[in-house]
């Protein structure tokens, strides 16, 4: 697997704020790589550094082994899908899509075929002559995608492209993007603050916080084995057990977390605690409980299988046992 993008001790500050702090990162060819983190964590900055809209204060950025840190955006073999789509309002959809080719001097006939193919890829064939102002949000987003992909870049950058879409549309687009990426085989670097989105689409995720990468890994690695408190709490929900209970339950003072779905109610296990149910919400696929255990809030998610529904009928205020296996405990750094 060759390396598509490499960050080598890259730092970038805006005034006194360190947007990227000695970031080291390797992104492989052909993978769907997500940069996940809260606002201001530096993920967008790193994306823009790859695109060339910012230059690093120190460190190097390499594209396929070549140092591009000082190259302007128009010289890099990288294309971007912007958060606000950035479609040119004075051009039609077709003109927008063919812009990159036109600028490179591709002949009109060839441009026409490529535009047709690109629009077919995003299912917008019939909209070629419309203006961006006449399209819906989802359609504009697809035009932006086509406009970027038509240039066959080695890396495609997507800056929170689904942020403005409603839930259903977002979910559809997530699947579509993933399919297109597999179809086209290009490296996708995807920036988002929505951890569920990242988990859905990515081959690997980098979790950002305050300009630094907290953890890089596959979705299951990130979710199942968060390395520190931040990752544990940012990705999914976590129950954090600090030194007091830790010692009680595991015999060592190291903090650990347990995911809500790993906890079972009403039975004893390797690690067992007792508490009072303070909240109970039926969420369709599962039921979420909040249990007060010696002043600590525990969140438990039990899947609503037929057997479980038949078995238990807890209510708020009940005293109940909660347990999980030692294996489910994840030590935090």
């Amino acid at each position: 697997m060759s390396v598509a993008v490499e960050f080598n001790q890259v730092s970038k500050a805006f005034g006194t704020v360190k947007a990227a702090d000695s970031v080291n990162l390797i992104i492989e060819d052909g993978e769907f790589f997500s940069m996940l983190g809260p606002s201001g964590s530096g993920k967008t900055t790193c994306l823009r550094l790859v695109a060339g809209f910012e230059t690093p204060d120190s460190g190097h950025i390499l594209l396929h082994g070549v140092d591009v840190s000082s190259l302007p955006p128009h010289a890099r073999d990288v294309n971007t899908v912007f958060q606000d789509y950035a479609l040119f309002p004075h051009m039609s959809v077709a003109e927008n899509v063919e812009y990159g080719l036109k600028v490179k001097g591709v002949a009109p006939a060839e441009r026409r075929t490529k535009v047709a193919d690109a629009l077919a890829l995003v299912h917008l064939d019939s909209h070629a002559e419309r203006r961006p102002s006449q399209l819906s949000g989802g359609q504009r987003q697809r035009v932006a995608l086509a406009r970027a992909l038509i240039n066959e870049p080695s890396v495609l950058l997507l800056d929170e492209p689904l942020g403005a879409l409603d839930l259903k549309l977002r979910q559809t687009m997530q699947t579509e993007l993933k399919n297109i990426q597999r179809q086209v085989g290009i490296t996708f670097i995807f920036v988002t603050h929505d951890q569920e989105e990242a988990l859905t689409m990515s081959d690997r995720i980098a979790v950002f916080n305050n300009g630094q990468i907290e953890q890089i890994g596959t979705p299951s690695e990130i979710y199942e084995s968060p390395r520190n408190l931040f990752v544990a709490e940012f990705v999914g929900t976590s129950n954090v057990f600090d030194s007091g209970l830790a010692e009680q339950l595991l015999g060592s003072r190291d903090r650990f977390t347990v995911r809500p779905e790993k906890i079972r109610l009403g039975v004893a296990g390797e690690c067992t605690v007792t508490g009072t149910i303070t909240d109970l919400v039926y969420l369709g696929m599962y039921t979420r409980y909040r249990i007060d255990v010696q002043g600590i809030q525990l969140t438990v998610a039990e899947q609503n299988t037929e057997s479980r529904l038949a078995m238990s009928s807890h209510a708020v205020g009940d005293e109940v046992q909660a347990s999980w296996s030692k294996e489910s405990c994840r030590l935090l750094a």
Partner: protein, 308 residues
């Protein structure tokens, strides 16, 4: 009692609340009335007068419709006046765009907060002082013994100045008595009116569009040509309306700077005031009206009215 007693004003206000058209009509009655009667009426009267002629013998206006006055307008001398004025207006507009654009772009894109306010103020401050004072100041600056000439001397380039002044169309005995000097003063005076609409247009341009263009492989020059320029053109057109029309109608600067060759404004003043030849003055006055009408139609097509 379910309803409160309302005062007369409240009742009037309620009455008008639902009758939007009536409200609008009353609001616009005065200004539109002024526009139609005073402005439209004056223009109409002007047009009407241009079809009369002045009686050679008695010097009074003969009110039988005729095209004789219009024939006089299309003489070589008067066409030269019109050509000179339109030519200067065009040159000033182009120069204002060339000078104003980098300034507007810089202010809009690369400054913010205090620095931006300071720069915008710097552009506007000349407008706070008297127009005449500024023009007279320029007359001194451009005089053959003025600051501009001194500058050339200091750099040993007085022969360059001499060469410039010897050029046929734009030169003259000194900068202050040449068309070039006139052009410089016109451009200076109207520049703020060009910078501000352009600055507004550039500010409305989303940064992401320019980034997208660069991202897709366009060099800065190409981005400017294909993206920036077409999108700010309405702002440029809006600013050009000001510079073109203001230069077209100006009759003060040509009397202070330049070699006294008449512009349309001066020609009209001479015919009306000095000669009492109202029909000819009216006919000459129609020329700028027609020119501006054409110009505004063109500017509207470019979207200038939205940009204003």
């Amino acid at each position: 009692m379910p309803f409160r007693e309302f005062s007369l004003i409240r009742r009037l206000s309620t009455y008008f609340y639902t009758r939007r058209r009536l409200r609008l009509a009353l609001l616009l009655a005065l200004p539109v009335g002024w526009l139609v009667v005073v402005y439209g009426g004056s223009l109409g009267s002007l047009l009407l007068n241009s079809f009369f002629r002045i009686d050679s013998f008695s010097g009074t206006i003969d009110r039988t419709p005729t095209l004789e006055t219009w024939r006089q307008v299309f003489t070589d001398a008067n066409m030269a006046v019109a050509g000179r004025t339109i030519g200067m207006a065009t040159a000033v507009t182009i120069a204002s765009v060339l000078i104003g654009f980098p300034l507007a772009y810089r202010i809009a894109r690369f400054t913010s907060g205090r620095a931006k306010t300071a720069l915008v103020l710097a552009v506007l401050i000349p407008l706070w002082s008297s127009y005449l004072v500024r023009v007279y100041a320029w007359k001194l600056l451009l005089a053959s013994e003025g600051v501009a000439a001194w500058f050339f001397n200091v750099f040993g380039a007085s022969s360059v100045l001499g060469w410039i002044l010897s050029l046929p169309l734009i030169g003259g005995p000194s900068l202050s008595t040449s068309s070039l000097g006139q052009f410089l003063v016109f451009t200076y005076i109207w520049l703020p009116y060009m910078v501000l609409p352009m600055q507004a247009a550039v500010e409305r341009l989303p940064e992401s569009l320019l980034e997208a263009s660069a991202d897709l492989g366009a060099s800065p020059a190409t981005t400017f040509r294909r993206i920036t320029w077409p999108l700010i053109l309405p702002g440029v057109a809006a600013g050009s309306i000001f510079t073109f029309s203001l230069t077209l109608g100006d009759y003060i600067i040509p009397t202070i700077i330049g070699n006294s060759s008449p512009f349309i404004g001066l020609a009209i003043y001479s015919q009306q005031g000095v000669a009492g030849n109202l029909p000819l003055a009216a006919a000459l006055a129609i020329i700028p009206v027609v020119v501006m009408g054409l110009y505004l139609t063109g500017a509207r097509k470019l979207g200038a009215f939205e940009a204003l």
